[in-house]
Amino acid sequence: MGSLFDELKFRDPERARALSEALRREVEAAGRTISLMHVCGSHEQAIARFGLRAAFPRGLDVIMGPGCPVCVTDTPEVDEAVALAAQGARLCTYGDMLRLPGTVKSLADVQSDGADVEVVYSVTQAVEIARARPGEQVVFFASGFETTAVATAAVLLAGVPENFSVLSSHKYVPAAMDVVSEMKETNIEGFIAAGHAATITGWGIFEPFAARTRTPVVVAGFEPLDVLAAVLELVRLVRARRPEVMNCYPRCVSREGNGPALEKLWKVFDVVAGNWRGIARVPRGNLELRPEWDHVNARRRFRIDTTAVGGASRNLLAEHCICGSIMSGLARPSDCPIFGKECRPDSPVGACMVSSEGSCKIWHVYGGPPDLKEVA
């Protein structure tokens, strides 16, 4: 494949400057600070990696909300996986989940104790492991938003061996926006929706939210100019008081989304209430297997005894962790007293420092607060 650098109209510096200047004029004309939220770790990666906050004017705050499904996975869910591994099941999960702290232990801890824990890149790899080890119980600890849940649904519908089960910690994107919009302390005036999650659900799914909360939503891609253009459109919608949904990522997102994938998703999963770590009980926050899938649901199939791994936390540092406030948009990673000190990617205290989609890890890797540079 040849270089595509001559096609980079999505990274053209002239267009970036023009967008940045248009954004500055819009925010200046508003005459107040406008706070926008995105709910996707990949957006925070793009913003930090490409230094986009330097192109945002004063008076514009772009905050990362609860857009990291690993980060909002609650400690009792980790405890269930840790207990299953300690009880002798072979636990397979995505890499980000390995060091996510449970009440007392993470899966990495129980792995060093001798339990069988395997990192997989795809649920299909977990199914292959189950096929290769018919004498063992293989449990897939499933994380991710609906984009990832459709893959879990597809393997169940295609048929899995008898010794394979799913411990679902899948989360539902629209709930992430609901939970923030209902917090009185936040003053988010517009949302940037995650491009690839919307590939599955379609942008139409955000219309009821926009109408109900009177908050505009813009679907954005991950190129620097994708993000800048989406932020500009969102500021314009905010200023015009138009609570609409705009699709700024038409090359990957349609209004209806991926029909075949959605059909499979809802055949297997239901939206249920769940606790999100550090945030709240979220009424439509989790994706759980429907009752007809009880035979592959690890929660129904096994007696999971978390008493040995639950109980009072022994991690005194965790009391200083402000991940919940960070994910709610009330604080920034640099506001946390242990950020970059006791809490680092090699020894994470809070969930946001574990995942590559966690805002603390992203800020830490890309050099601290990525918006230190001010544009005059």
Binding site: A46, R49, G144, H196, K264, E357
Partner: protein, 104 residues
């Protein structure tokens, strides 16, 4: 994990359930269970955790590839976006002779 990665369909299995896909020189087998529309050889698809989740319209392929091309070429060893992209590539089933790391 939210970032799908685009690749080119090289061949499709006889049962139509999977495809060999080239990702920037690394070949992987992807499942086609949940792709939005049927794909043919030469199409580009977006891969997430070993599944094609969207056929990328041909006129939009260049724009979609550019970001990933740059990330993989210039990324430092600890770059998070590059690591996520490589993780997505590793999610496909390895083709014969590939070490499965997705770092080909």
């Amino acid at each position: 994990m939210c970032l799908g990665v685009p690749g080119k369909v090289l061949s499709i299995s006889d049962d139509g359930m999977s495809a060999q896909v080239d990702f920037f020189g690394v070949q992987k087998e992807l499942r086609l269970d949940i792709v939005d529309v049927p794909v043919v050889v030469g199409d580009y698809v977006l891969n997430h955790v070993g599944f094609a989740i969207r056929r990328i319209p041909p006129e939009e392929v260049g724009e979609t590839l550019a970001l990933f091309d740059q990330i993989l070429k210039e990324a430092a060893a600890d770059d998070l976006m590059a690591a996520d992209v490589r993780g997505e590539m590793a999610a496909g089933r390895s083709a014969p002779g590939d070490d499965g790391s997705g770092r080909g």
